[in-house]
Symmetry: C2
Subunit: 304 residues, 2 copies
């Protein structure tokens, strides 16, 4: 299976702490890096955790609050200074461009690369990005400002060719691609060998969903259903659920309930309020509902 | 003497490193904090080094390159979340407001405090700020974009009253303020005791000058003449003086020559290019010209 991981760069809510930078994560699929949110200090965290800023070509921004975007100008400057070429795609609320343009006009090294802004839809589920290995989808969350979650899904993998049959039937190389895609094998003598006799099943496809900032929202369940890994914000413990509602955030138990109902395999909670000195009670509380819960900590890497 | 210090929050040039954040410093005079420049992560450094963001009411921005300003939106958000009240004064190129406004409009907690932007003059020496203890002046540097240096000067202190004379002459409390300001003492019997017999000299006034980013510029010498502490950028070692000139920066030796000609007491060099893994060779090189040179390192506090 291809390497597929999520590295937490920042896991605080609005106020960073000595242990937690504001929200940012890197999804790595087969050494292609996708950034989700970009709180202040993201470029510093990338460096600290050995991830190259210049390898990021796609950035997904959930919403335009400062703790999710204030790292963008510095990251983009550093990319420019590092000689980045080509295109940087940013998926966000359309207003982001208006916020960034005045900041970026002083960066004289940006002649060689271009930022392409893609507006998010906050009305419904949409496919944002697609290549041969991955699709990235967005779906609306519910926060004080327009906000989207994202799902990263591996594309269906090729079937595995059965080495014994390839050898026995002397299948030419040119036919193998089609068979790995599901085709039967037509021999020169006219006989047909069905695909099921030529292949083993493909690897399972994996998926990662990112949901912050938001109140718990049942409407997202069909979209994130059965994902392997779900990041869901849990800004507060369950005793502060009134405050969570008022500020359009979720509690530990609410995040766990979403994970449970969506039948996900594993839950990461994060975006912790700076009032919590330890994440342990928060994780313990979520585990009363969804046992396979873990805390996001800066620098931690979750393999899918 | 009142506490008067400079704490280095960031000392890198454009690219931060694992050891150095981008430029930012805090001047502390008698527990009033003044921020100079605000590179990305300034709010994180303030927290790390135990300085309260909410105590800063004046920010001086040398120029509008990202490594000197990209920490502002996060710092201001954090001030707002911390319940800051009153006025925050920012002294900078007038364009800064246009860069900040689109970023700050999402900060809903800013109802209680107001940012007042003060435009810098890039033509000549000017007094920016003055209170009972301090003046802050600006003066033009020479960089790729308009840039100013700053001098923080203590105001002339009061004279020290001689306790023996106060007692012997029974000087009433109401007269003492005038005497500390230099007045003679007129006794009720008409005799006059000259001030020189009533006081000891005041404490010396101290001063700090901040010069980055710039080519070495002789025109600044009259302004920074005899300061107690000079911070002067030394982005490069002396072997890269062509590159320094091309990018409008200074070398170690050029910074040291400015310090020597200005007759300052102590020199701090910083804004080091990320190519230097250690600051030691840079300091050694500067010391061949100005022996009392030290490197700026994040978290270091220089007492005046």
């Amino acid at each position: 299976m291809l390497p597929f991981s999520v590295t937490i760069l920042g896991s605080s809510s609005a106020l960073p702490t000595l242990k937690r930078f504001p929200t940012s994560q890197v999804v790595n699929l087969n050494e292609k890096l996708y950034l989700i949110d970009c709180g202040e200090g993201t470029q510093i965290q990338l460096r600290k955790f050995g991830l190259k800023a210049g390898k990021i070509n796609h950035i997904f921004i959930s919403h335009l609050h400062g703790d999710h975007i204030f790292g963008l100008p510095g990251l983009i400057s550093t990319m420019a200074l590092g000689g980045k070429k080509g295109e940087l795609h940013i998926y966000s609320h359309s207003e982001l461009k208006l916020m960034m343009d005045p900041l970026l006009k002083f960066i004289s090294e940006m002649d060689d690369f271009r930022i392409i802004y893609h507006p998010l839809s906050f009305r419904g589920h949409a496919v944002l990005f697609e290549d041969s290995k991955l699709t990235v989808e967005s779906f609306p969350l519910k926060h004080r400002v327009p906000c989207c979650g994202f799902v990263f899904r591996e594309k269906q993998h090729e079937l595995h060719l059965r080495g014994d049959q390839v050898e026995y039937l002397k299948i030419p190389i040119r036919e193998r691609v089609a068979i790995k895609g599901g085709a039967d094998y037509h021999r020169e003598d006219g006989t047909v060998i069905p695909n099921s006799e030529l292949t083993f099943p493909s690897d399972p496809v994996r998926s990662y969903a990112f949901c912050t900032d938001t109140v718990p929202r049942k409407q997202i369940i069909p979209v994130i259903n059965n994902v392997d890994l779900l990041y869901h914000e849990a800004t507060f413990g369950d005793d502060l659920k009134d405050l969570a509602l008022k500020t359009y955030h979720s509690t530990t138990k609410q995040a766990a309930e979403i994970a449970l109902e969506a039948g996900v395999k594993k839950l990461i909670i994060g975006h912790f309020s700076s009032r919590y000195k330890s994440e342990k009670p928060l994780v313990d509380e979520a585990r009363t509902i969804f046992p396979n819960t873990f805390a996001a900590n800066d620098g931690e890497k979750f393999e899918l």
